[in-house]
Structures are given as structure tokens and as C-alpha cells.
């Protein structure tokens, strides 16, 4: 394994080098084009095109009896375009919605493609072997000449995007506005559709028609999780896709019976899942962690508030409370309360003396603030939203954890520092 790895990445084998460069270019170009499909909310269009190129390839082969890459890709390009036109036509001239139109066109073309492919395979034509590579893709076993063509086309795609980056961004974000600026929007639409068809035509060599839309869309989606800047998004998508294409190609290089496409897609999915889960800004994990953090903060603030309220009740004569006294006042789990108290103790906000707890100076400040915010918000709701006083507690319970010092100051000003809340409890201010 290690030997093959060394051999593969040492670039001593010229063939391997070409395959590598080809993989990188194909991966990068389809990912970059895919970013625009995703941003224009036309992610499924890649799926239509990729399924629809199959009959084009087969018919081109039948007509010219050749596997020349230009002939096959030409056929693929034409039937890919035809499918887009068809989908557009159905959407425009009937009540059928875009998803249904896509479903119809995709399956009709793919069905026809498989049909013709089967006929060719049973015709006894010796030249046909390898046509089925279009179903699942295979870069590793590709002829040098084909690889040149594909790499050239990928490079061409990347250059087009670089050149037309600005107009493509304009029409992806706000098409109407682009028209209002006097941009030749239809021309750019045509360009974008064409490069999508071209990217699919090139990409199916790597992953095959069935999995092509994954190669188009997944890197873009993963990249969006990792950045909020469009140029970085394109770059990251290209990077992710290239890496996956190299890995997939390497696997089918070492085990020629392994199909390239599925391996590329599996690796791609793994990488994307990593991005979706672990993205530092939008990842699922960071969101969960933020929620958890907020939840704990709310618990802590509630316990400090509870201690303050208990003291308040006795006119601050008594300041130390045991667990059962606390549970009597507020309905929460005993375990939860104990855990929260322990966390507060670590932060120096409460102290434990034998079996009783008391808030430290800093703890009292927070507890007092919670009570104050709660009551201020109740006053606000009764005065400004004209709510009856028995309807305000629930909202205030949540709001006390949300209001920041600026909002608190605003609230105090507009309410003119009221002395009592709607339930006639005194509002405790910090300086008192």
C-alpha cells in the first residue's frame, strides 16, 4: 500500500502525473461551476444534464462509429443542452413546476440513453468497449489523448469563470437588477448554462452520469459552510473537489476493478460531512455547543436569581440556603440544581458552608440584575404592549437572559426608572 502510494505521488510515472493533473482540473472546474448552480438555486439542473448526456454520447458513437473524445463530448454537449431547453419549455408553457419538469426530462433522457447503450453493447461492435465507463466514470484507465482534451476543457471552463466572474455574480445574486443595469443578461444566462453543460460533460468522465450532480453540488455546499466570501467559496470548493478526485483516482489506480466515480463521491461526502458538522462558523456542532452554552448560562443565572429572591423574602436577614429550600422556591431537577451550583462555585459566584449555599458579592450582582431585568420587562409589557399583569411573567422569564446592558439602560430611561413592577415587587437597582 505504502509503496503504491509512494509510486503514485512520486510522479515518476508520467501516466500517473497526467491522470493526477486531469483529476485536479476536472474536479476544480466542476466544483467552481457548481458553486454558481447552487447560488442560483438551480442545483438540480446539473442532475438533468448529467443524465441527459448519455443518449447524446451513444448516438454520437453510432453515427460516427468512433470514440474520438470530440465526437462523444460533442454529442454529450448537444443532448445536455437539449435537456435544459426542454425543462425550460415545460416550465414556461404549462402548469408543471420545475421539480416535476426536471423529473420528467431526466428520466426520459436517461432511459433512452440506457436503451441505446444496450443496443450498442449487443451489436457485437468491438469498438464499443469502454462506453459503459460513462455510467460510473473512470479517469485512471483513460487514454492519454482523451485526458488532454478533458484537461484542456476544464482549464477553459476555469478561464471563462475567471473572465466573467463579475457578471456571473451579478446575475446569480439579483438578476432583475442586472437587467436594470443594462447587462446582456440573456447572454450570460446562456454562458452559465453552457459552462454547466460543459462541466458535466467533462466531469462524467471522472464520476459517471449517475453521480455527476454530486460532484457539481457537494463541494459548493461544503464550501459554503466554511466561508461567507464568494471568492473563497469557489477556491475551497475547487480544493475539496480536487482532493477527492485525486483520492478516487488513486484508489482505482491501485485496484483497477474499483470504479472511480463512486469512490470520489464517497470521499467527497465524508469531507462534506466534516465541513457540515465541524465548520467553525455555521457547523452543526458549533450550533449545538452554542445552544448548550446558552442553556447553562440561563440555568446559572436562574439559580443566582433564586438565591437573591430567597434573601429578598427575608429582608436579607438570612443569606444561606440549602438545596431543599431552593427546590421549594423553584421547580427544577435536584441533580441539575446541584450541578449548576458546582459550576457557579468554580466561577466564584457562590460559596458552600456546610450544607448551605450563599451567593458571593459578584453572584449577588448577577442575581440582582436578573430580578431587575425581569421586573423592568414586566413594567414595559404592561405599559407599552398594554398586557394585563398576569400575562407578562413568562416573557420576562426569557427576556431577563437576553437583554444586554445597553438595552437595560434604554429600558430604564424610557420607563423612567420605575420603583415597582406590576405585581408591586420592588425593583432592585444596582446602586441601592
Amino acid at each position: 500500500m505504502l509503496e503504491t502510494l509512494k509510486e503514485f505521488f512520486s510522479f515518476t510515472d508520467a501516466n500517473v502525473t497526467f491522470v493526477m493533473i486531469g483529476s485536479i482540473l476536472i474536479g476544480a472546474s466542476s466544483a467552481v461551476v457548481g458553486c454558481f448552480s447552487v447560488l442560483r438555486k438551480r442545483a438540480l439542473i446539473g442532475d438533468v444534464i448529467s443524465h441527459s448526456v448519455l443518449p447524446g454520447i451513444c448516438i454520437a458513437f453510432l453515427l460516427f462509429n468512433s470514440k474520438n473524445p470530440f465526437v462523444l463530448l460533442g454529442g454529450a454537449f448537444l443532448s445536455g443542452w437539449l435537456s435544459i431547453i426542454w425543462v425550460d419549455y415545460i416550465e414556461r408553457n404549462s402548469n408543471i413546476k420545475s421539480d416535476a419538469a426536471i423529473g420528467i426530462v431526466l428520466s426520459v433522457f436517461f432511459g433512452a440513453g440506457i436503451l441505446i447503450l444496450t443496443v450498442i453493447q449487443h451489436s457485437g461492435n468491438a469498438a464499443q468497449s469502454g462506453l459503459d465507463h460513462f455510467i460510473f466514470g473512470n479517469i485512471a484507465s483513460m487514454l492519454r489523448q482523451d485526458l488532454y482534451v478533458l484537461s484542456g476543457m476544464s482549464l477553459f471552463l476555469l478561464i471563462i469563470i475567471l473572465l466573467f466572474y463579475k457578471p456571473f455574480v451579478y446575475i446569480s445574486f439579483d438578476r432583475n437588477y442586472a437587467v436594470s443595469l443594462g447587462m446582456p443578461v440573456r447572454f450570460y444566462d446562456f454562458m452559465l448554462s453552457s459552462i454547466t453543460v460543459l462541466a458535466v460533460t467533462v466531469g462524467i468522465q471522472a464520476v459517471g452520469v449517475v453521480l455527476m450532480s454530486a460532484l457539481l453540488i457537494t463541494p459548493a455546499v461544503a464550501a459554503r459552510f466554511l466561508t461567507s466570501k464568494l471568492n473563497y467559496m469557489l477556491l475551497i470548493a475547487a480544493l475539496i473537489s480536487s482532493v477527492c478526485c485525486i483520492i478516487g483516482t488513486f484508489i482505482s489506480y491501485t485496484a483497477p476493478s474499483m470504479p472511480t466515480g463512486p469512490w470520489i463521491i464517497v470521499v467527497l461526502m465524508l469531507l462534506s460531512m466534516l465541513a457540515v458538522f465541524f465548520s467553525p462558523s455555521r457547523g452543526i456542532l458549533i450550533n449545538k455547543w452554542r445552544q448548550q452554552k446558552n442553556y447553562r448560562k440561563i440555568l446559572e443565572e436562574n439559580v443566582l436569581k433564586l438565591l437573591f429572591q430567597l434573601c429578598e423574602k427575608t429582608g436579607f436577614k438570612e443569606q444561606e440556603w440549602n438545596i431543599s429550600q431552593m427546590l421549594d422556591k423553584r421547580n427544577m431537577g435536584e441533580q441539575q440544581l446541584k450541578q449548576t451550583l458546582r459550576r457557579l462555585e468554580k466561577k466564584g459566584l457562590v460559596e458552600k458552608k456546610s450544607a448551605e449555599w450563599t451567593a458571593t458579592v459578584n453572584g449577588v450582582i448577577i442575581g440582582k440584575r436578573m430580578v431587575r431585568l425581569h421586573r423592568l420587562w414586566e413594567v414595559y409589557l404592561t405599559q407599552y404592549l398594554k398586557l394585563p399583569s398576569d400575562h407578562v411573567h413568562e416573557t420576562a422569564e426569557a427576556m431577563e437572559h437576553i437583554l444586554n446592558p445597553e438595552l437595560e439602560a434604554q429600558l430604564e430611561t424610557i420607563l423612567n426608572k420605575p420603583e415597582f413592577d406590576p405585581h408591586n415587587s420592588k425593583i432592585p437597582y444596582q446602586d441601592e
Binding site: D174, Y177, R224
Partner: protein
């Protein structure tokens, strides 16, 4: 109450527009003179946005035409800027406020070039005019609705044109922002710019605009605000559509009939 003006800056002539064969604007005919702050007013579904889009050449009319500066819109696009409705785009698009405003600096001559230093200065200035300079590098997805609205406004300002068409620029902005935007628009009209604003709030409309275009599928009024403030005009605008016209609209849609021979 339809007053035609001499030497109009915008001339909308007998405009009829359909959406999917259903007519939404019937024979709209009015004219606007230079330097006016114009309100396009009407109930939901009156065709206000459609009118704006038709003037902007974004929708092909069934019949009639629009002339701006006595020319076809396509000839003078660099003299008109458009503020679409905020909901018309996906604000999760990966871009900063500045990126969006810079789009206003598009030039047909150098579409592939990078933005110049001047473009950036103008974009910052425009953001400053709507009090959004501090948010220039903020992702648009993180802005509030009112802030997004102001970014759209700044983008149009960055175009530095003579005529502005704005679709609901006050939607979703708070009262103080609305006031500051209004002051900005008034200042612009004093500098000789002409501004058309789709607005849904009748209460404030009479206060805000010099000229009113009142719509309800058909044109009810096009006149100075003071003249539009009659019970008859308001009743015709908001008192439901003309029943016969609605019936015909539906018939045309159902039977797929052409509205023009």
C-alpha cells in the same frame, strides 16, 4: 384626476401588462415631470411593482410603451437606477454590504475590470448616506431587514443617476430610519433628481410625496398630492377593484384568450 405634464421625464403611454396571460395593469397612461418625489400608491395586488418593472423594462408589456427622457429605456439605462423589493433576492448569498453596493458601479465599458479606487469611495459615500458605513464589511446575511433595505438603497445611490425607481424602500425599516431615508430623498429631488417610490401606507403618502400615482389595476389618479387627497380618489383606489374588469381578467386567464388582437 389624471393630469398630464408638459415635457415629461417619464411618459407611460397606454400600458397594458399581463402576468401569465392574466392582465394586471389596464391602459395605464400618465406622465411625470423632472425633480418630483412621486409615490405609487395602491392596495395589495394593484400592480404597483408590475408598473415599476414595466417602466424599468423588466417585463414586456402587452401593449403601450414607456419613454424616459423621450427615449426607450434600453438606450438610457445608465441614467436610471432601480431598487428591487428586498424579498426578491436571497440574502444568504455570500457577499458583504460593500460587495452589494459596489454592484451599482457596474460599467458597460469595463465589466471585466476590478473596481477602481473611485468606485470604492463612491460606494462608501453611498453607504454613509444611508447610515450604513459601519456595516460595510458585514455579511449581508447578518444584517437586519431594515439594514438590508438600506444596502439596496445605497447600491442605487452608487449608480449616481438622474432617475430612481424604488420598490417599497420603506418596507421593514423602523420609524427613525424611514424619516432619515425620506429626508435623503427630499434632498435628492431638490438637487434635480426624480424619484418614483412604491409605497403602501396611505397615511404617510400624502405627507411624503409631491406627486401621486394611484393605482388599482387601472390608473385612478396621477396628480399633485394635494389634488389626490379626495374621498373619491381614495375610495376608487382602495374600495375594491372594478368588478367587471376583474371578471374579464379571470375570463382571459381561464380561456387563455389574447388581450390584444
Amino acid at each position: 384626476m389624471i393630469k398630464q405634464v408638459p415635457n415629461p421625464l417619464i411618459e407611460v403611454h397606454d400600458l397594458t401588462v399581463s402576468y401569465h396571460t392574466k392582465p394586471v395593469l389596464w391602459n395605464i397612461d400618465f406622465s411625470i415631470s423632472k425633480g418630483q418625489l412621486v409615490g405609487i400608491i395602491g392596495p395589495n395586488g394593484a400592480g404597483k411593482s408590475t408598473l415599476l418593472k414595466s417602466i424599468m423594462g423588466l417585463i414586456e408589456p402587452q401593449s403601450g410603451y414607456v419613454k424616459i427622457f423621450d427615449k426607450n429605456i434600453d438606450e438610457i439605462r445608465d441614467r436610471v437606477s432601480y431598487v428591487p423589493q428586498r424579498e426578491s433576492v436571497d440574502w444568504d448569498f455570500p457577499a458583504s454590504a460593500l460587495d452589494v453596493v459596489l454592484m451599482g458601479r457596474y460599467s458597460r465599458k469595463s465589466w471585466f475590470k476590478r473596481y477602481t479606487k473611485l468606485d470604492r469611495e463612491i460606494a462608501f459615500e453611498s453607504l454613509d448616506k444611508v447610515n450604513m458605513k459601519a456595516f460595510a464589511n458585514r455579511q449581508i446575511s447578518q444584517l437586519s431587514g431594515g439594514q438590508q433595505q438600506r444596502v439596496f438603497l445605497a447600491r442605487a445611490l452608487a449608480q449616481q443617476t438622474e432617475l430612481y425607481l424604488m420598490d417599497e424602500p420603506f418596507a421593514g425599516v423602523d420609524a427613525s430610519t424611514e424619516e432619515s431615508i425620506l429626508q435623503l430623498l427630499i434632498k435628492m429631488t431638490k438637487e434635480g433628481k426624480t424619484i418614483l417610490v412604491v409605497h403602501h401606507d396611505l397615511q404617510t403618502a400624502f405627507k411624503y410625496f409631491d406627486w401621486m400615482v394611484m393605482l388599482n389595476t387601472s390608473l385612478i389618479a396621477s396628480c399633485p398630492s394635494a389634488d389626490a387627497m379626495t374621498e373619491e380618489v381614495i375610495q376608487n383606489t382602495y374600495g375594491g377593484k372594478l368588478p367587471l374588469l376583474s371578471t374579464i381578467s379571470n375570463l382571459i386567464k381561464q380561456k387563455n384568450l389574447p388581450i390584444r388582437e
